[in-house]
């Protein structure tokens, strides 16, 4: 009983937090935690303070905000029009930030994250009208967000490919890979426009190239993602996107095999073999980047495809993609241990970069299939699993009070267990109170 009293007191304390609002105690800490959870950049703001809410919405990605402002020009008719507008805007931006972070449309199964999206607490009648809309515009900003990335990306790609061909092979291959990684990690809702431009630039850069083989690689690679992405756009679901891209990749790999290139035929055969190994995976394109890494990553993708949830996949691909990019940028080949650690740090950094929508240039250029990494399928799958777990632990950190300072799984799990047990005991106490009154 002491624990429950203490927890009640804590709840009360949270209610008197520096939030300084007037609404009922009931929803206060709820709002606090869920708003906190929505996204780190969005500041905690009381719901009755529209100016503060406006500022908080500005703190999230500016492009997203401008987009949302245009959408919400025609709000639902209700009494507190402005109030709802800002609320929904904030909700949408919150859900959007989460969506971008995950790289999957809001309509996908983000059931866990949706209740955590909700920042504020408008009246129920208004809420019903307003809440369904954020799921729709959630789709758009992702594709929009890809726009600056992709166009800048295309420029860089063109620049890269036009470099003299000393390390042309490597550079082209690495450049080939990030496109696929970047595109696949974006998941569904991909626009066709940038892809066509992108394919065009890829082909153009190829024509400027020197060796035939490199041409083939780049052309194939650039064509693959564009085609697969087109298909994905028509299907409109990331899973299908990946599957279709698999088949396309396979066909392209076979085409590559069929085409006799004057260059290193053995190399090409190896690449296509590597790609053939990773047949199930859209990232079999990485086979062009390097064999062992291709197989390793292919194996990792295989494991990931075997799992159930879609956003997990896209999330995982995004994380691993960014991790691979950053890692490659840090170290070319070499030791396994430092690369694994840097990969983790780089992976998280990559995640944050994608969150802010202003990824540093290096993330896109230096995608390399993870050379020098532990290419054992087991360890790769474990890494993916660990990343997933750490992601969810972050959510839990926001939700459970007093967990932000704590690092490490064991202590956090302790806190979580204590919290859940205390909540359950509170429920028991309440039940008892109610039945006696």
């Amino acid at each position: 009983m002491n624990m429950s009293d203490k927890d009640k007191f804590e709840l009360e304390k949270r209610n008197d937090n520096p939030m300084n609002y007037h609404s009922s105690n009931m929803s206060s800490d709820w709002r606090y935690s869920s708003a906190n959870l929505a996204s780190a950049p969005i500041n905690l703001v009381p719901s009755n303070n529209p100016t503060a809410v406006g500022s908080s919405s500005c703190s999230s990605a500016p492009m997203v905000d401008s987009f949302h402002q245009t959408i919400w020009q025609n709000p639902i008719s209700s009494q507190n029009l402005g109030y709802l507008d800002i609320d929904v805007q904030n909700n949408a931006s919150a859900s959007n930030a989460l969506g971008i972070r995950k790289g999957s449309p809001a309509s996908l199964r983000s059931s866990i994250d949706r209740p955590l999206d909700m920042g504020w607490n408008p009246p129920a009648s208004m809420l019903k009208g307003g809440i369904f809309l954020p799921s729709v515009p959630g789709m758009f900003p992702q594709s929009l967000s890809q726009f600056p990335a992709d166009s800048a990306f295309i420029e860089r790609a063109a620049r890269f490919s036009s470099f003299s061909g000393g390390n042309f092979n490597d550079m082209v291959n690495t450049f080939g890979v990030p496109e696929s990684m970047g595109l696949y990690s974006r998941g569904g809702g991909i626009m066709q426009g940038p892809q066509e431009v992108f394919a065009g630039s890829g082909l153009k850069s190829v024509s400027g190239g020197q060796s035939q083989k490199n041409e083939m690689n780049v052309a194939e690679v650039s064509r693959d993602p564009s085609l697969s992405v087109e298909h994905g756009a028509t299907d409109g679901s990331p899973l299908k996107n990946e599957r279709k891209s698999e088949s396309l990749v396979r066909s392209h790999e076979e085409a590559k095999q069929g085409v006799g290139v004057s260059g290193n035929e053995s190399d090409e055969a190896e690449f296509s073999g590597g790609g053939g190994d990773g047949q199930d995976e859209p990232l079999a394109l990485e086979g062009t980047g390097g064999e062992p890494s291709a197989k390793g990553l292919a194996a990792k993708k295989r494991k990931r495809n075997g799992q159930d949830t879609e956003p997990d996949q896209t999330r995982g691909t995004q994380v691993s993609g960014d991790g691979a990019k950053d890692d490659a940028e840090n170290q070319p080949k070499g030791d396994q241990n430092p690369t694994s650690t840097t990969n983790k740090a780089a992976g998280k950094h990559g995640k944050q970069g994608s969150q802010t929508l202003d990824p540093p240039k290096e993330e896109y250029i230096h995608v390399r299939a993870r050379r020098g990494q532990a290419t054992n399928s087991h360890s790769l799958a474990e890494r993916v699993r660990r990343e997933k777990i750490s992601e969810r632990m972050k959510f839990l950190q926001d939700l459970v009070p007093g967990c932000s300072k704590v690092t490490g799984k064991a202590v956090m799990l302790d806190e979580i267990i204590n919290y859940v047990q205390s909540l359950q005991r509170q429920v028991e106490v309440m039940e008892f109170l109610i039945c006696t009154s």
């Binding site: 866990i112 949706r114 209740p115 909700m118 369904f132 064991a410 109610i434």
Partner: protein, 189 residues
Amino acid sequence: MRSPSSLRQEFLKKWILGLQVCNSSKNMNVFERKKAIKLSADVAMASARNGKTCWSRALIVNASRNDNGKEFVEKILGSDYERQNKNSTMNRRTRCRKILKRSCTTIRKAMKRSTPSRPKVFAFSVAKKMIKKRTQLLKSVVPGGEFMDEVSLIEETLDYIISLRAQIDVMKSFANATEIENRKKDRQW
């Protein structure tokens, strides 16, 4: 889209419905009343998720194990609940997971026998044991947690925490309301 207020409203509706059902059977004993309240609260909380989460399904299954519970659940959820539970195909999943776990543990045990005696690895193994203990604890706390792998376990705890909070909020306001009403009644007399 689940917002906290809609979750609370749903929970409240179903809870009140359950309480009405219980009152019709006229339990005057305190303990029975408490049981009824708890049961109806559990079922209401679980049904607010519509069978999407593992813990809600497990909760409903637990509630419907007693005979009283079964009737109760049927009344509240209607005949849909069986369909919901069956759609989830929980049994198959849990069986597959158990088999997987058994095979994995045997493999891990075989690998563990050849553990090197370096201090670093020792520290790792200690940490792993700690984490394992705690995950087992968490699994015992969260309903239906024994059948889940770590990743989904964390998701389930997230959801569970959210709904517990909503439940507590609703019950608090409910208790306040009843208290106020009782005071008014007392004043009248």
